[in-house]
Symmetry: C2
DNA sequence: CGGAACCTATCGATCGATCGTTCACCCGGC
DNA sequence: GCCGGGTGAACGATCGATCGATAGGTTCCG
């Protein structure tokens, strides 16, 4: 028996998956690269063959999923037309769907963001700020056009985003509600928060 | 120079404060007890004189603040009377005030909960569940009495709680809004989420 | 066609640093 | 003279990282 678990060649993905599991269960500093390698069915050296180190594993995970969220938001808004309520619904849908389809990465990014190297963090902070801008512009535009009636757009935005993001913390894929229904519920909540007529 | 920074006798509190700072900045596994002791201006041995170990530092921090939150909720509801809207406002006020007055402990508890020993966690999970019950009973009661009109009380509750809890992640004590104003804003948001007439 | 050269994917062994914890000891005040 | 508050040195374990070696595959040249 030499290579039974990993079918030779699937090393990189096996390690990435193992890192995702370990970071999710124990956090960045709580995970050891030895445990990650063992979980992947590979040696410690194989891990260094595919990645440049522990930090690289974390950064790759967070970067990839953050980029996906940003891309989903962009696409959703592009297809949403002009109506403020429709645009808010689009952003809620993108966020809810993302938090569920990338539930593990979401929780990792939320709690391990601070452990990113400054080099990685800078660019990701920029994307995070850009996403916040999307939400803020949308809500402020809705208020300006009289579609929304909230006195404090910033707080309404933070409340809606927090509610959507929190889904990653409690949703159970198998037992929970179907995703489209959940999207409907959170869209309704968001519209109530901004007091949409 | 022997004990210049710590005024002799304040050892326990100095260590607790240092642990709170370090856990908040770097997380549980990212903090070393050597750094905590140095931050407190004491030796590593002094830390073990006052606490039984690293886990004890974390558990004490989370336990104490979780108990305070639970106590605040109880008191708020006891003084709130019978009206559903007033009771919801009371719980929102208790939560918002707590998240700000214990901002650091809130973020620590949120991200380091999983690092608690099973022994500590069991009891705290019970308190967390009890607090959830307070919110759930309140919302369901409001719906049953016709004061709230939300179709999905569970989702409304989760949305409101998530929004209030998130305050700990972004509020800046010196630059931000005064606490009573913030309480008012989040009470209004909560009432909109449950569609209170 | 044969084999030397090279590449890819993986391994075991090991490095120095740091981790949480323990222990034996000390100093000053009641 | 005891005891509360404190120290420094040391323990074994584990950490992230690096090293040289190697089995199997592919390429290329004569």
């Amino acid at each position: 028996m030499t290579t039974a678990a990993v079918p030779r060649g699937g090393g990189r993905e096996a390690i990435t998956r193992a890192a995702r599991e370990s970071f999710a269960e124990r956090g960045y500093h709580g995970s050891s690269i030895r445990d990650i390698a063992a979980r992947a069915g590979l040696s410690l050296s194989a891990l260094y063959h595919w990645h440049s180190g522990k930090q690289d594993l974390l950064a790759a995970l967070i970067e990839e999923s953050t980029e996906e969220y940003f891309r989903r938001c962009d696409e959703a808004l592009r297809d949403a037309g002009d109506d403020p309520a429709a645009r808010l619904g689009a952003l809620v849908r993108a966020t809810v769907e993302y938090r569920i389809s990338r539930q593990v990465e979401s929780t990792i990014a939320a709690s391990e963001w601070r452990n990113l190297d400054p080099a990685h963090r800078e660019r990701l902070d920029g994307m995070r700020a850009a996403a916040t801008r999307l939400w803020a512009d949308l809500v402020e535009d809705g208020v300006a056009r009289g579609a929304f009636r909230c006195e404090h757009p910033g707080d309404a935005r933070r409340a809606v985003v927090a509610a959507c993001n929190a889904i990653a913390h409690w949703y159970e894929p198998d037992r929970g509600l179907a995703v489209p229904d959940l999207v409907d519920r959170y869209t309704a909540i968001a519209l109530r928060v901004v007091d949409c007529r």
